[in-house]
Amino acid sequence: MSCIVKSDTQPRIATIAIAKLIVTAVVVLLASSSNLYAADATAQVQLNVAKAGPRAVESLTERGILRDYRFAWMSMAQALEFNTVDPLEGPFAGEAKKWLRETVANQQRSGISQRYMNQNHQLEAVFYAPEGDVMELHDTAEYQLQVSDGGKLIHDEHVIVHYVILMTPAADQWVIRQLQAVPQF
């Protein structure tokens, strides 16, 4: 997008018209920006448990994993965008929580923030322990990743990332204990 305006050669009325146009554009931009965030606050997750073993995944567990994994990614996105650790309390535990907290702390220091937008996760359960106390999943995640420094966009990319995840049941939800990106499965 490029914009060229020669205000000194135009009549005054034309300048005002252009100014109105810009104001409208800014308003539309801001409005669409806030709508974008509302739309981005969700994460699409599809879960396949057909290959999970040795224990079969019960339908109630499947629903719980789906619900909690989606919530975890939304929380992570919120934490990394607004540089706050509060959303990490609950959906994450162990090493995953540790490095996410470190990331947020370092982002606070460096002024960097990350936005995960238009998330789509193809999640597959690959291992479910005999006693049901741990599940390993593979996620082929697709999203728009934006990195900003002090509000200035320095990176914007549509990425596909493969994640290996360990989830364990907590009191009333499944939590992510390990979240590790890999080149391929």
Binding site: A19, I22, A129, P130, D149
Partner: protein, 294 residues
């Protein structure tokens, strides 16, 4: 190279509020090259081309670093910034921003997360004991490269199981039958000198061959079991309930009695001919016929 953006052309028409930013794709002089593979905890470098100063960003799991660098020189990556396995992004901005990603993989295993179930198991139960092991490196990254993990189960001096399992997707597991003798079962998982130890208490299974005797007393009858064992000969733990049922002409009378010192004993009110039976769990013992006082 991933992105190529420059914020440019902020223009003002009627005061300070009329700014609009536009993104213009521009060609760039600098290029960055990342290592093909990086192992967690190792130092590395990123090479750049071009000249002049630039801002370097490293974004990855646990890392969000920003520093000033000189283009054309190598950018050192500290070992402490590359401890977590996962996806990293290196971004260099000098007017334009260029970025490239790379992965850090786990280093060699340093510990095993070993989950064993249950903590207490009756003897002789098929597929009753299971274990799951995850190898982790010294930075607590899951080691996804296949590893051979040796599971060993011992009870006393006898080996119950020794099985080598190749990990797949960072996990190895086993499931087996519990032993024949009550007592402590040691469950070990070993990998290249790393051993994780767990213990499972094996207890007697359900009573087997429940046998009872009885006699008449002034107030009715007294019945008791012989020492109660499971089918492998292990004494059934004290506290296990034995149910005695006395059937006489006037009806049935039932008493639950816990095993104490291997024997369950009950005194029951009765008169006349009484048929007494005993049961514990799903096991039924013999019947005894006792002539109580009328």
């Amino acid at each position: 190279m991933r992105c190529r953006f420059r914020m440019c052309g902020a223009m003002s028409l009627i005061g300070a509020w009329a700014f609009a930013a536009c993104l213009v794709a521009v060609s760039s002089a600098q290029e960055i090259k990342v290592p093909a593979s990086v192992t967690a905890g190792d130092e590395s470098v990123i090479s750049t081309t071009g000249s002049g100063s630039a801002t370097f960003y490293l974004v990855g799991p646990g890392v969000s670093r920003k520093s000033e660098v000189s283009l054309g020189q190598e950018i050192p990556l500290r070992a402490q910034d590359l401890r977590n396995a996962g996806s990293y992004m290196a971004i260099v901005c000098s007017g334009t921003c260029q970025s490239t990603g790379f992965y850090v993989s786990a280093t060699k295993p340093a510990s095993l997360a070993f989950l064993v179930h249950p903590s207490r198991v009756p003897v002789g139960q098929s597929d009753a004991v299971s274990g799951v092991a995850f190898p982790f490196d010294q930075f607590r990254n899951l080691v996804l490269a296949p590893q051979t993990i040796n599971f060993q189960l011992t009870a006393g001096n006898s080996a119950l199981l020794s099985r080598e399992v190749r990990s797949q997707d960072g996990v190895a597991w086993f499931r087996t039958t519990s032993g024949k003798s009550a007592g402590l079962m040691q469950v070990n998982a070993a990998l290249e000198g790393i051993t994780a130890k767990r213990a499972v208490q094996q207890v007697a299974s359900d009573p087997c061959n429940l046998r009872i005797t009885g006699q008449r007393v002034a107030t009715g009858i007294v019945v008791q079991t012989e020492p109660v064992h499971d089918c492998a000969g292990n004494p059934v733990p004290d506290g296990t309930i034995v149910t005695f049922t006395a059937t006489e002409a006037s009806g049935k009378n039932t008493v639950d009695a816990p095993i104490k010192k291997g024997i369950a004993r009950a005194q029951m009110a009765a008169s006349g001919a009484v048929l007494v039976s005993a049961a514990s769990g799903v096991v039924i013992g013999n019947d005894v016929r006792i002539e109580a006082q009328r």
